[in-house]
Symmetry: C2
Subunit: 682 residues, 2 copies
């Protein structure tokens, strides 16, 4: 008896222990490291098989071409078909959807095991095809699903994981782990996921993300050591630049030029990507045909891309034989290509030899590579397979940076004189800076610099890289929304624009100016007929319940619609009489939220925005002396912000003040906000 | 006429442009870089003079001793006196106070130009004395003052800077710049300041901090290039470890041991520091004497410390001649001391030769250095001068790590065999890891790892360093609050404990369980007599104003006490009659907040905590159907959290669940929270 009680006590202790937060983090880290490593392994083997097949057929060029084109096409079509059949939610990057989910919006079927399977299989096939598709975005999605599923398992041990607040915490950590173990960059992973997904960030999640991401990256790198891919834990794309004098202050203008150009190029990339997506969504004969035959679009894109990169064909002028990772490794190498082009290749050149064409200048090859890969990446990432844009853009940035670096090396062939010593220019360093700047411009983040340090294992270029990334961000944020926000807008997902810094009007506009005054509500005397009418005329998920009809006192209860409907239908089947309809509601059967969010009329727009983005609200009720006077939903807020900042339908990035000032000075300022939308209820 | 209008338009445009946010950030960056560099320059010159004086007198040891002791004593006493006379708020680190201010509490006189002057002068003198005092904490304070003052200047151009919300944004950036340009570590600076000062962080401030800190660090490093201190922009404590094989997986246990030991040591440091402060605050004859003669305590501490470090005396056994920065440089060097001890010193050893004593083993010197500096640092940081603990702890951690590294090098004198190649152990790498782990343990942050990468310019040890920092944090957070929280508690500053992750009770406790139900309020019919009575019986700064006494409807107006008092006193002088007292209040003369924060009774503890920490509230009113039913202040929340988590009076770090579980399993769980305090109002 005593033994039984004791063992029960021990069991409970064990269960509580297993429900601990850090065990969740460790499990998440291990599982994601395994997934990441297996995917890398499988796609690397696939690429190896591809290269081997291609190499074996070198005696017959037409056959070689057939293999070069067919192999990726089969993989991409398989990925597309698999995703379409298993879970269409797995298509695309996943970061925009996660950003929306973390904002508090419920997107159905996005965090299921089905989506997990589709994403993992589709992504592995996509990466194994050698097409310019990225791993980072989908991996964030995969890690979030993993975190969500794991947290459900953990509820067995601890009830905490059921809370909706906790859900956000879990997904935030999932995102951090996703980026962190994708390339073994825990620190940059945490920062990138914060910048990309959050508006307000709980610092306790910083710690948790750091813990899980480090553990995950650690396991991920240890796995490759065990597999003899690496001798010890080092960076993925390790560089070997000289450290005693990494760069001279006189090179800074070149770095600044890279930053500014990358800003423009990044904005153009986002624009191009959106135009392709918008074109595909426009209803005409071609898109209807493509929608009916889903595999044709990815097949055609793959065919065109692979045909152009076919090494014996046009590919020889654009280093077409290089797979994305090989391209990065060669672009980050420590040679000066303008110097060795034409002469015998030095030892240790490796795959970089792909950049040398006997008749064509290195500059031309780099430029062609950049231009061709630019539109290829913008188009490839719109294919209906799981694919991110981070890695393709990273390759683009690296090639652009390298181009500038090689031009610098050609302009200063003897290096730069400082203090009597001639220091050679390192074009590889320019490539690293270009990669960070362009990814930063496309994603509107600055932590790409941190990811670059971790990927290359060298931090000596820290200051010029940060300057370039900041300049790229300034330009890109002034021109276009980030790639993820662009997708959110194109997909029409609910979002809340950023409040810019420095708009006095956000303190002068109050919630009473933007709220919808005609609120539909229920009271304790409401009949089923009224409820039916209410349900027909609104699409809201929650309805306020007030004390007495006359006084409109907020009773602060909310009805959950899905519950009412099912229960209402039941009622209908049971009793067909009309009389039943006039009976009052049985309120105790209804799911009620005892503390809905209340605002008062004089709450400023700034405060409202802060509360909405902090708490992930989708709507809030406005009360005056306890009386319900209005409701504010995400939509009203969105319109008010866009009205008050006068930036049309575009998101407000932190630096949009640049473009605002230009407009402000040309247009007279109006303090009244956009009229509130009445469409919420009528 | 047209020209005038045009130029006015241009002027307005210019004024708006100058009020732009990025101009504020650039100005802040430049000014802080100049301050940081000037302080470094002045303190370096002071140390140089100190060393020169000491060196010149080598023919006479007693005279040498006199200089060695007197020089720092004069500087420290000067710093102490200067701070006491100009601004006593400048004493200490400043980070605890800023954390409190960023929580929304108004601390008077902490962000004034006087405090700025006292802090800059006092800190320069302190750093120039060679005593183990740090620059990081005070520098955060300096930068925040600079940001606050600059924002006041900016209000001339743009009204936005007046808003109280904006104030938090400005101080957050100030903190980031402070850490960032202190050692030229922009990235680590931003992250460290987030971790140390915030609970919830607005991601838009991440961008702004990054921008300002990079700019500042850039100028800071460029200044030293212009001053010929450095050839180009590189790290402050640059290391030159081999990069091809930085460490072997078999060395990981040693790194883990460093992490765990640093956790314990860090917690002990915080404990020791608090005990010294508590002893100094205990009222007895000694402390009364010391309070009356303020200069005696710093003088005695300086005397004892310098006497013990006197190089020809005991200092020879603990490398006493090394100033803090020299110590770091030598501890991070690339030699293996156990190998070169006793033999002729190799070229390039430099200041590291201070660690070699002809008769005493290197281990003993390192151990003595660590033990002596440990208590010296803990005591020195309590002196009444501006002083941080970051740098002293960093030195301690480096020496501890180096000790472990040298032991490892002695255990494996031929290095570690891997794949047929023998890799030497790098003790300098252990020193870097130790430094990051110990500072992380003392401050409860993980971004010290990032600061280390930036300080050393090498990122090759990233994974072991992050593992060590995380382990150190796990241990330290389970044992003691962070140094800054410890100071907050000792100084009795208002604070809000962290809500731990994984306590289901935080969702089951509602605000109605913890609120104070007896609320004092005013109504429109209240007389001056009632107001006087109210003011006498409460110390609150704001008083709720309700509609009608009987119904207690919240009219959602707040009175600002300071305004009332001054205006009330005026009334008293004007009219001495008693009759005047019964007149009703003139409400339109009173400062009113039209949207105070309202909660409903069923708001969960978790939600309340989130709102309080997000919005920096100090109190919120609880309403039921519009009626005022209670008030919750920081104090109630604090007690409820400490009650519900059962961790006594200590703060809840993210990993405190470790110590909770142990207690939970031994004590039966009770779901009822601690009884609310009635002392707020009666």
């Amino acid at each position: 008896r005593v033994g039984c009680v004791l063992s029960l006590h021990h069991f409970q202790f064990l269960v509580t222990k297993l429900g601990e937060d850090w065990i969740f983090l460790v499990l998440l880290g291990i599982s994601m490291a395994l997934v990441s490593w297996s995917m890398d392994y499988a796609s690397a083997k696939s690429l190896q098989a591809y290269k081997w097949l291609y190499g074996e057929l070198s005696w017959n060029v037409p056959l070689q071409y057939l293999v070069w084109v067919t192999y990726p096409m089969i993989l991409i079509m398989f990925a597309s078909l698999f995703c379409h059949l298993v879970a269409p939610q797995a298509i695309g990057s996943g970061i925009p959807e996660l950003k929306t989910i973390l904002r508090g919006v419920v997107l159905k079927e996005y965090l299921t095991l089905k989506a997990f399977a589709a994403k993992v299989v589709g992504l592995t096939a996509g990466l194994g095809s050698g097409m310019p598709v990225g791993k980072e975005g989908p991996f964030v999605h995969i890690a979030s699903i993993c975190a969500a599923v794991l947290s459900k398992v953990m509820t067995f041990f601890s009830g905490v994981y059921q809370s909706p607040y906790c859900y956000t915490d879990i997904l935030t950590v999932g995102c951090a782990v996703g980026v962190g173990c994708c390339f073994g960059t825990p620190l940059g992973g945490v920062l990138f996921s914060i910048e990309v997904t959050s508006t307000y960030f709980a610092v306790r999640n910083y710690w948790r993300g750091y813990f899980a991401a480090t553990f995950s990256a650690f396991i991920f790198r240890v796995l490759s050591v065990f597999n003899k891919d690496a001798v010890t834990i080092t960076a993925l794309f390790r560089t070997k630049f000289r450290m005693d004098f990494p760069f001279d202050l006189q090179e800074l203008p070149a770095f600044a030029i890279i930053g500014i150009s990358c800003g423009f190029l990044g904005a153009f990339f986002v624009y191009l990507n959106r135009q392709v997506v918008l074109f595909m969504r426009k209803p005409n004969a071609l898109t209807r045909f493509l929608t009916r035959h889903r595999l044709i679009f990815p097949a055609v894109v793959t065919f065109v891309v692979t045909t152009l990169t076919f090494p014996p064909g046009f590919g020889q002028f654009m280093a077409g034989e290089l797979m994305p990772r090989e391209a990065i490794n060669s672009l980050f190498d420590n040679f000066t290509w303008t110097k060795i082009w034409g002469s015998a290749s030095p030892p240790g050149l490796g795959r970089s030899s792909a950049w040398f064409h006997p008749d064509v200048n290195v500059f031309i090859v780099l430029l062609l590579f950049f231009i061709m890969k630019f539109w290829m990446s913008a188009v490839s990432t719109t294919m209906p397979i799981p694919s991110g844009a981070f890695m393709p853009v990273f390759v683009l940035g690296a090639s652009f940076g390298r181009l500038v670096g090689e031009i610098m090396a050609a302009l200063f062939p003897h290096g730069i004189l400082f203090d009597g010593i001639l220091y050679q220019i390192i074009p590889g360093g320019y490539a690293v800076i270009g990669a960070a700047a362009l990814t930063g411009a496309v994603t509107h983040t600055v932590s790409t610099a941190v990811i670059c340090f971790e990927l290359t294992g060298q931090i000596s270029h820290i200051l010029p890289m940060m300057v370039a990334v900041i300049l790229a961000n300034m330009v890109a944020q002034g021109l276009q929304p980030s790639l993820y926000d662009s997708i959110i807008q194109v997909k029409k997902l609910p979002y809340l624009p950023e409040l810019g810094f420095g708009h006095i009007s956000q303190y002068n506009i109050f919630v009473e100016d933007i709220m919808v005054r005609k609120v539909k509500f229920l009271c304790s005397q409401s009949t089923y007929r009224e409820l039916l009418y209410l349900l027909d005329s609104t699409s809201l998920k929650t309805i306020p319940l007030v004390d007495s009809k006359g006084e409109m006192l907020v009773f602060t209860f909310l009805l959950h619609l899905h519950k009412i409907i099912s229960w209402y239908c039941l009622k209908q089947i049971k009793s067909w009489e009309e009389a039943e309809m006039d009976k009052p509601l049985e309120l105790d059967q209804i799911r009620i939220d005892p503390s809905p969010f209340q605002l008062v009329e004089r709450t400023s727009l700034h405060k409202t925005h802060t509360l909405f983005s902090l708490l992930g609200l989708s709507q809030a009720y406005v009360t005056s002396i306890g009386k319900l006077v209005g409701v504010v939903a995400l939509k009203e807020l969105q319109k008010a912000i866009e009205g008050s900042t006068r930036s049309g339908v575009r998101l407000r990035p932190p630096l949009a003040s640049f473009r605002d000032t230009i407009r402000k000075s040309s247009k007279p300022s109006k303090t009244s906000p956009a009229p509130s939308s009445p469409e919420l209820l009528e």
